[in-house]
């Protein structure tokens, strides 16, 4: 049976300091969890179409650290690291995430896996400490005052559908 997925990731901005990414997968949650926490599997998908993951370190325990290094298509290297704050196998991971190119703007990510009829919904809530850091994550080139319009974005997005 061919498994096709036309699911796309859905990104919303629930508050001034958050980013929420959701996506449904045609797989039970224990496999999504496995693909998310096993270094040799992470290497196969995490870079998307932006490069190759050259290193994935995972010390999957509370207080344990993780670090991914990617060689981007342009040849430069980018790295992310953090610490696991909470681990509920197959259900939930809370971890810190630091982009090493902008280490002041760390975030806390909460991954939640919910299974129904063999399909799994993944939600990643990215919580920044400040609005400024979240906005830097979004786009440093935004014009002043525009950030205020974030709440209206979803209405606009709906009207563009």
């Amino acid at each position: 049976m061919a498994v096709t997925s036309s699911n796309r990731a859905v990104v919303t901005l629930p508050t001034d300091t958050q980013i929420l990414i959701t996506r449904e997968f045609d797989a039970p949650k224990h496999l999504v969890y496995k693909a998310w926490t096993t270094p040799e599997l992470i290497k196969r998908w995490w870079s998307g179409d932006r490069g190759e993951v050259t290193s994935a370190e995972v010390d999957l325990r509370v207080g344990g650290r993780w670090r991914y290094v990617m060689t981007a298509n342009g040849g430069f290297e980018v790295a992310f690291h953090g610490e696991y704050l909470e681990i509920v196998p197959n259900d939930r991971i809370v971890l810190t995430e630091v982009f090493e190119g902008f280490p002041e703007a760390g975030a806390v990510d909460t991954l939640t896996l919910t299974e129904k009829d063999g399909r799994t919904t993944l939600a990643i809530l990215v919580q920044h400490e400040t609005k400024e850091h979240r906005d830097a994550h979004i786009n440093s080139g935004m014009e002043d005052g525009m950030q205020e319009a974030m709440a209206a974005l979803e209405h606009v997005a709906q009207s563009l559908r």
Partner: protein, 104 residues
């Protein structure tokens, strides 16, 4: 700059055009305050105004939001590519699990 009332005004205008009176009623704020926030929103180009008879009608202008919308689309695209590769990994894990119950 994080002014929740301006955000409320944008939320109301996202539903459709309003007069100041309409906004005052929807928001339960006094008119001078609503007018002050509308002035700021017009200055940054998020709200347009037109005259209709003796009323001034305010509406949301989505164009300045386009860069944010585009950014979200770009970010979504990045995650979509990532998740498509994850789909392939998951299909392989599913096949392995179904084909060999003792695999590990």
């Amino acid at each position: 700059m994080a002014e929740p009332r301006r955000r409320q005004i944008l939320d109301v205008l996202a539903e459709g055009e309003r007069s100041v009176t309409g906004l005052v009623e929807s928001l339960g704020l006094v008119q001078p305050l609503v007018s002050k926030h509308l002035r700021v929103l017009r200055e940054v180009g998020l709200v347009d105004v037109r005259d209709e008879g003796r009323q001034r009608m305010y509406r949301l202008n989505g164009r300045p939001l386009k860069p944010i919308y585009d950014w979200v689309k770009t970010y979504e695209h990045t995650w979509s590519r990532r998740f498509e590769r994850l789909d392939a990994v998951l299909n392989e894990l599913k096949e392995r699990e179904q084909g060999n119950g003792s695999d590990e």
